[in-house]
């Protein structure tokens, strides 16, 4: 595998961290009124950096399929606004059809929840409905009402097994209002730098 990001990219990231450090003074002051272990603002503190991703993606969704595609990818995760926001820039090395996409996350100190938007580089003028949620007991659960092939579904992102050098993500759809879920995408992340 070729190096996932150029040295230029790494410099950009180091630079970004320096910037974020300055911004922390501000936003941390704004949100420190909500103190305590579950304030939520620090939910993504372990996420910044460059990560190798191992994706497993269900080939057909909500069709009873058990046929999975496996591919690798990379993710570059950037903290913003001293922690009140963040984004990640992803490369999906799908054989023959590599593509890229961006997540943007924003913290609402009133509800202590995060909204997560997804922008697919192949449809760059469309931003999906955000999934909204928070971490509890080490698991981040983020939900949205969306549609799949014209039918209403609930969509769920789960973040779990969060550690310094690894983390796990999965996406599931529910066609019955959240009673049953079909996981259609899982990703194991391993930190590169």
């Amino acid at each position: 595998m070729t190096p996932p990001f150029s040295p230029a990219r790494r410099r950009l990231w180091t630079d970004a961290l320096a910037g974020a450090g300055t911004a922390t003074l501000l936003t941390a002051a704004n949100t420190s009124a909500i103190a305590g272990e579950s304030d939520g603002l620090h939910d993504f503190d372990l996420f910044p950096g460059t990560w190798r991703a191992r994706h497993r993606k269900l080939k057909k969704r909500l069709a009873g399929s058990d046929d999975w595609a496996e591919f690798e990818g990379t993710q570059w995760f950037l903290p913003m606004l001293g922690g009140a926001g963040n984004m990640d820039d992803n490369v999906f090395d799908v054989p023959g059809a590599p593509y890229r996409g961006v997540s943007l996350r924003s913290f609402d100190p009133k509800t202590r929840t995060w909204a997560i938007w997804w922008l697919d580089g192949r449809a760059p003028h469309k931003i999906d409905v955000p999934v909204i949620g928070r971490f509890e007991n080490g698991v981040g659960t983020f939900l949205a009402d969306d549609t799949f092939e014209g039918k209403p579904i609930k969509m769920r992102f789960l973040w779990s097994k969060i550690a310094e050098r690894s983390r796990y993500w999965e996406q599931a759809f529910s066609p019955d209002g959240g009673k049953t879920w079909e996981t259609n995408w899982t990703t194991e992340f391993e930190k590169i730098s």
Binding site: D89, G101, V102
Partner: protein, 194 residues
Amino acid sequence: MRHDPERRKIMRLSLLATAAGLLPLGDALAAVPEAAPGAGNTHDFDFFVGSWSVKHRRLKQRLVGSREWQEFDGTCRCWSLLGGLANVNERIAYRPDGTSHGLGLRAFDAKSGTWADWNLSSKEPHKIDVPIIGRFENGVGTFLSDDTHEGVPIKVRGMFSKIAPTSAQWEQAFSTDGGGTWETNWVMNYTRTA
């Protein structure tokens, strides 16, 4: 010939930025489709990548004939994403009524040759506005959307202009008559800090 002096300056700037390692253009994975001739391209926002100090002038009340402006300072920082196909910025503004912050995300659609620009503010951190959509022509980027202001349908216009290596201007205007007349309600003057 479409390469006006402004555009040449931008290109020169982007080359400098690349040389300085600020832009991940060397990224072999950045397979970005070519846009149609005359349309925008993935370098349109190269000028905006980096750190800025910002002088804000904001109309206190909108669409009521007010001429009362408030002035305040702020900062802005922009990163290039997806090999140029998108970029994101954070901004902090020290407004008279308190510090606010926000995020902006712009993404390029090679098919239409246009950019969509979404905006997110700490005042409503889970709400992303309708994107303004547009492109650069003769050094001026004009981005439009249909939106509402206090329940009334309006057109929103964002404009980037006066783009130079160390400065740029952004302004926002609303129109209640379908774009016949515009009221500018926010001007930001950017000075590069890094």
